[in-house]
Symmetry: C2
DNA sequence: CCAACATTGTTGTCGGCGACTACATTCACT
DNA sequence: AGTGAATGTAGTCGCCGACAACAATGTTGG
């Protein structure tokens, strides 16, 4: 009763392509990713992927979408929650962001290259009902101001740290120290108090 | 005494390729950039570019290097100088950064995708002898701390704003407002004082 | 139950690209 | 003037994405 070695239908080629592509992206760049090579890997013909994605761009968009989901999940998992103070929370989120960027640089690049392709995205875990900023304001840890705008500013700073750490421009400088510096500047300000 | 219509030698094919490629990058992505198409544009044979760049990657690296020079120049031109306060200075630099990113999104992406390919780069105009941070510290506008590390944190934040604005995740939100929020958080801190 | 029909996969082909080789023309220097 | 380096040309190879025609399998309603 074993399944035949080579069933005509793959089962879930679409998911398999996305999964294998994510693996490949961990090693190489998006430019090195070829649908034909993936198809070869999975033992299907070179045209099979076209049954699931109209063209390469659509495939990359789907890949980016799954990347956003994984980043959201990683940040949600790293968030110590509203009970923690703002600083530990920002540091934990920042570290998770950097970890994701380091583990999957090409995927992160693809996610941000998606432009209008990727539907709207609010900045992972930073805004929304359980907003980090609103929590901090409620605890008196953040000054007043539009929570959405403040959250975006925080997101921008964390994203900048992750982007720089991945890009190699830091030349071996301590990424975690950079993150701490950035978070502390955001919380207490550069100006002497 | 006019030059022949089609001289055998181009004159400065290398520079022409880089220049034309930069133009193309203003419209499309780096993936759409082909050496053969550029050669066609410039009226040379498809193999001519290989005389100047051993392979496509080397060409892209050279393009990225010229991008860094232009970004450095743009930031240097936008810097109001040490006489200005820290806030106006950061805002001016941030606006120039965003302007560059908006005008040349694909080039900026290429510059940061260069990874180890691009030689070290200190973060445009933010560090070095005429460091913005050292100036601010001298004026009492910034707390003590390693100027290099603080400058990198500032760079990360500004880069994050530019990256987000280019990526489209902001969905039409006001980029300049985001920049102002970010700079103000960096200067005065999010915590109430 | 089985006959349409939709879904998914295959083979074949096309043009474009990057890389490489062999050859041609021009330049620069002695 | 002569010779070697620099620069450009033509041709080829293999890989890729896109497309078309065809085959196998899954599904559904009469």
């Amino acid at each position: 009763m074993r399944a035949p070695e080579q069933p005509y239908h793959h089962g879930d080629l679409r998911a398999a392509l996305l999964e294998r592509a994510a693996e490949r992206l961990r090693l190489g760049t998006v430019a090195d990713l070829s649908l034909r090579a993936l198809a070869r890997d999975l033992g299907v013909s070179h045209a099979a992927p076209s049954r699931h994605f109209p063209d390469r761009q659509a495939f990359l968009s789907a890949l980016a979408r799954s990347g956003w989901e994984r980043l959201d999940a990683a940040l949600a998992a790293a968030d110590p929650g509203a009970d923690a103070g703002l600083r530990p929370r920002l540091l934990a989120l920042g570290r998770a962001y950097v970890r994701f960027a380091t583990a999957e640089p090409a995927l992160l690049e693809l996610m941000f290259a998606g432009k209008a392709a990727g539907e709207s995205h609010d900045g992972p875990g930073l805004s929304g009902p359980d907003s980090l900023v609103e929590d901090a304001q409620a605890r008196g840890e953040a000054r007043a101001g539009d929570p959405g705008e403040l959250a975006t500013a925080l997101w921008a700073a964390l994203h900048g740290v992750a982007a720089l750490s991945v890009s190699g421009v830091l030349r071996g400088a301590d990424v975690d120290a950079l993150l701490v510096q950035t978070v502390d500047a955001l919380l207490d300000g550069l100006r002497p108090r």
